[in-house]
């Protein structure tokens, strides 16, 4: 139980989200997921369990004191298990940042539409960010690898068939872009 006196200390958190410098002052206990959704208004990041199991809240992070960051998009983390204050100075990519610069769907997002990889759409942001990071690591996965790559995210609608297909399709779209 926390102390709930009037003077709950607040901390300024400065970070870059989807390429844009953002800032808000929040209590130390403010979850990163709540910070993104309610303090910065980026409601694309969803919380399905708030105990780190479903993966809907997955965002991509670069920086934040970690020296092992790699890849263009950053490493996936469960934002519902992290405090916002831990990410002062970090760079974060959310599902809103997975679009193309012109606002059109990015390759992973486009693949989900092509393959009917979503139904209610609630878990989808976590899949999109997870797959975005995964394809940086493995640009041409097999079906088996694609299934494994998404096996930390829960979806209640699709039975995953078309999400696996979406991973493969996204890899195809990305390689076409690189090739083209």
């Amino acid at each position: 139980m926390s102390d709930t006196s009037a003077a709950e200390p607040r901390h300024e958190v400065n970070l870059v989200v989807n390429g844009v410098p953002r800032s808000a002052t929040v209590p130390a206990r403010r979850l990163l997921s709540d910070f993104l959704r309610h303090d910065l208004g980026l409601t694309g990041t969803h919380t399905g369990c708030e105990h780190g199991v479903c993966g809907a809240c997955t965002v991509l992070v670069t920086g934040a004191g970690r020296s092992d960051d790699e890849g263009v998009s950053g490493r996936p983390i469960r934002s519902c298990l992290q405090f916002a204050v831990m990410y002062d100075g970090a760079e974060i990519t959310t599902v809103e940042g997975c679009t193309r610069p012109d606002g059109e769907l990015g390759p992973v997002q486009q693949a989900f539409q092509d393959c009917h990889g979503l139904q209610c759409g609630f878990c989808t942001p976590g899949f999109v960010t997870t797959i975005t990071a995964y394809l940086e690591e493995n640009p041409s996965p097999s079906e088996e690898e694609a299934r494994e790559a998404i096996s930390g995210n829960l979806c209640r609608c699709t039975g995953y068939q078309n999400i696996v297909a979406s991973v493969l399709r996204a890899a195809e779209l990305k390689s076409e872009e690189v090739g083209g």
Binding site: C54, Q113, D114, L118
Partner: protein, 803 residues
């Protein structure tokens, strides 16, 4: 002709928004609103002696704390019993906040409103509730024994005793050449949508109007309930189901306590108020389903044909019965599947327990009914030494016997009459798809490699598209775009695409021109809700009928403009033209302008409809007596009775000889939901259903201890399948259109889940060689069964093989 859209795998219109983080679920709305947390009962059965909130009062940011005694008038009364039924002699519903007694862990007792959820939870932690403990009633056997009662005034814990009967089943069984008895059990699971429930309310004191956003499957009915409880005129209340993150049944229940309390607090405080359910709350205070014990007594002849079926069911309905006995009704009727049972009798006891309420979860009683019947079919085949497919086929209702009247009453209060279906053709497709007749060779080859495999099948019939009605509104705007509204809600079924496809075809416009709104009482006031695989059947046909009205009006107005007989006109790509006369055309946008005689213009297009531009016949009113302005139409579809979709699943499993780990090697589906609007969406529905079926067979169960504590109330412990647990699904369709509705649709939402436990029990039984009568089944349970079987504890004629 406009490119036909119905039946095409059109990409979903809603996807770009949802994929780019632009969806709007309830918790995405109402930034800055006050937030709510609840003190919920930590005990399954207790009297409330005292509630002490003093410790919470000095928490900074607290706005209000409410207990039952603060709730005025109808707000404080018990929640409605939504679906009364004569057999439900002892229906009980909860108060929005517990009054004197709690009947399950998770029941709300105190409502805290604060500046944010963190603060509200701080205050909840400081509220002390003193309880006097009562003996908890947990589990069907305990409830049936009735040593203790959940509700003092409900004898035997029996909420309802439902009997469905056709012929004299007991006599038929007694006289049959062969008789078998089976004891079966299905455990609890839950809908478990990724988004829990959520309610946001905004009271406009100046306008004396209330807007409620709620994650519901029935927004119009929530509106009626909120208006009644808050004693507001219904036309001052608007209810919107925005994007909804899955429902699967749990969100058809309404009004949830929070759907009354949050709007009431918003009105009372004059502030925006929001509550977003967290996952643990969802586990312990929303709804579960499935838990049943069944005793089947079946009489049959040496060919395997049923003479009589006598079933007794004990159904766990949890602590309250707000949704009536819909699940028992569905189990006792849909149990029959595609078969002629001979004489039939089902008696269901719906029992109270001190657990979370039980209301429909995708399948809604059908998986249990299917389990009873399909386990019976396998037992008969085993008893007679016949092929399991042969026994099923011999009992099928044949296509030439359609429509087939079972002589029972279905969940809509209408006779249980199957409209159509070709079960032998479906079975044939399924056997080919999985290689049923070749499996013995496969089994022998596997055995030679030391592998243990088995094959199973299960069939079902699903009453879909139940009434009473849905409506549709279609309007052509003056820019040629088309707006459509229907009152039922969407939780991921792609209605914005499927209904657009229907309207596009009916009107002759490209599908991209059509925008669909669902579940918003501002756009359409009359609706029932999204459940029972009914949306495509009900609203699909309603929007088609509305679009036909609009088309007729468009042709009439265009006929006047083109001086042509409307019967000679067609609409192609949004343009009305005289068939075979190039050049004689008028776009629908212009027809829309002409349909609405104007005094005032606001752009060039509308100038054409003003009074000096189109003087018309000076002897006639600008709008004829039997006409209305605007190129729009509303219509309703109300069927005499349900349609009946059907399907059959088959699976091949491999089971580890040492560890009893179960792997699904193949999973095949043959499915007939009548006309397909969008095959891609239907396939997605099948996939999702199968995943939930597999989950209910191998993974998911609600584990209560004897004290009524739900031990696995988190995603860490409740085993929802990930991608690695769901097999690749092979599907084939049969399309026998329903004769009951204009589009021939039957509905597909629940189909995939229904035979899951049955088909996997069948396959596991085939692999192991002993009866499986209880699902779900874990490797350790299967291992235990093996040990018992080896010790010859298994009674091979009776199936009493529970753990």
């Amino acid at each position: 002709m406009t490119t036909r859209s119905l039946g095409e795998p059109v990409a979903r219109r809603e996807d770009p928004r949802l994929l780019s983080g632009q969806g709007r679920y309830v918790d995405d709305i109402g930034t800055g609103a006050l937030e709510v947390a609840f003190v919920r009962s930590p005990h399954a059965h207790a009297r409330i002696v005292d509630i002490d909130v003093t410790g919470a009062l000095d928490v900074d940011g607290i706005v209000a704390i409410y207990t039952h005694e603060d709730l005025p008038g109808r707000v404080g009364e018990p929640l409605p019993l939504l679906i009364p039924h004569d057999a439900l002699t002892h229906g009980r519903t909860p108060y929005p906040l517990a009054k004197d007694e709690v009947n399950h862990v998770g029941e709300p007792i105190v409502m805290v409103v604060a500046t944010d959820r963190y603060v509200a939870e701080d205050a909840c932690d400081r509220i002390q509730v003193e309880f006097d403990f009562l003996p908890p009633v947990v589990g069907i056997e305990v409830a049936r024994d009735a040593e203790h009662l959940v509700h003092d005034d409900v004898p035997g814990n029996v909420a309802a005793r439902l009997v469905q009967e056709s012929g004299d089943a007991r006599a038929a069984v007694a006289q049959a050449p062969h008789v078998l008895e089976l004891d079966l059990e299905i455990e609890r699971s839950a809908s478990m949508p990724m988004e829990g429930k959520a309610v946001f309310a905004r009271w406009d004191a100046d306008d004396t109007s209330l807007r409620v956003y709620t994650s519901t499957q029935a927004s119009t009915s929530v509106r009626a309930a909120v208006a009644a409880k808050l004693e507001l005129p219904a036309d001052r209340v608007e209810v919107v189901a925005p994007d909804v993150g899955g429902g699967f049944g749990v969100k058809i229940v309404h009004p949830w306590p929070e759907e009354i309390l949050v709007p009431w607090a918003a009105v009372t405080l004059g502030r925006e108020v929001k509550w977003t359910e967290d996952r643990r709350e969802h586990f312990v205070s929303s709804a579960h389903e499935r838990g049943q014990l069944q005793h089947v007594k079946v009489g049959f002849d040496s060919e395997g044909r049923l003479h009589g079926l006598d079933v007794t069911i004990w159904h766990d309905n949890g602590a309250y019965t707000p949704y009536g006995i819909i699940v028992p009704i569905i189990t006792t009727t849909q149990l029959l599947g595609p078969y002629k049972p001979g004489a039939y009798r089902a008696e269901c006891f719906s029992l109270y327990t001190n657990t979370v309420i039980v209301t429909p979860y995708r399948g809604a009683g059908r998986p249990q009914g299917c389990f009873a019947m399909e386990r019976t079919m396998d037992a008969i085949a085993d008893h007679l030494g016949l092929d399991r497919a042969v026994v099923r086929e011999r009992n099928f209702i044949r296509p030439d016997e359609m429509p087939y009247d079972h002589g029972l009453v279905f969940q809509d209060g209408r006779p249980l009459i199957y409209d159509s279906g070709d079960y032998p053709a479906s079975l044939d497709k399924l056997k080919k798809l999985i290689g049923w007749d070749e499996f013995d060779d496969y089994r022998a080859a596997a055995r030679a490699e030391g592998r243990q495999v088995g094959i199973g099948m299960a069939c079902y019939v699903e009453g879909t598209g139940v009434g009473p009605y849905e409506g549709g509104f279609v309007k052509v705007e003056t820019d040629g775009s088309v707006v459509v509204a229907t009152g039922l809600t969407t939780q991921g079924q792609g209605h914005q695409t499927a209904f657009a496809q229907i309207v596009a075809d009916e009107l002759g416009v490209p599908v991209e021109k059509v925008t669909v709104t669902t579940g918003d009482t501002r756009r359409f006031k009359y609706a029932v809700g999204t459940f029972a695989s009914r949306a495509a059947v009900m609203s699909g046909n309603a929007v088609a009928l509305a679009a036909r009205n609009v088309r007729e009006k468009a042709l009439r107005i265009a006929g006047e403009a083109l001086e042509a007989d409307p019967r000679d006109l067609e609409i192609v790509d949004g343009i009305v033209q005289v068939k075979g006369t190039p050049g004689a055309t008028v776009p629908l946008s212009t027809v829309a302008v002409l349909s609405n005689p104007l005094r005032y213009a606001f752009d060039e297009e509308t100038q054409r409809a003003t009074q000096f531009a189109t003087p018309g016949d000076p002897e006639k009113p600008p709008v004829a007596e039997d006409d209305e302005p605007g190129l729009e139409g509303t219509d309703y579809y109300s069927p005499a009775r349900s349609t009946f979709a059907n399907g059959m699943h088959a699976a091949i499993v491999e089971i580890d000889p040492d560890t009893a780990e179960i792997s699904i090697l193949r999973y095949c589906v043959v499915h007939d939901c009548g006309t397909l609007i969008n095959p891609r969406i239907v396939e997605g529905q099948i996939h999702g259903g199968v995943a939930q079926g597999v989950a209910g067979a191998l993974y998911e169960r609600m584990v209560y201890d004897d004290a009524g504590q739900l031990l696995n109330a988190s995603f860490m412990d409740f085993l929802m399948p990930y991608a690695t647990e769901v097999p690749r699904i092979e599907a084939d369709h049969l399309e026998t259109p329903s004769p009951l509705n204009p589009l021939g649709i039957k509905g597909a939402g629940e189909a995939g889940v229904i035979p899951g436990a049955s088909v996997l029990a069948s396959a596991i039984e085939d692999a192991e060689g002993f009866r499986i009568s209880r699902m779900p089944i874990s490797p350790s349970e299967l291992y235990e069964l093996r040990q018992r079987h080896e010790r010859r504890e298994q009674n091979t004629t009776n199936t009493k093989d529970s753990r």
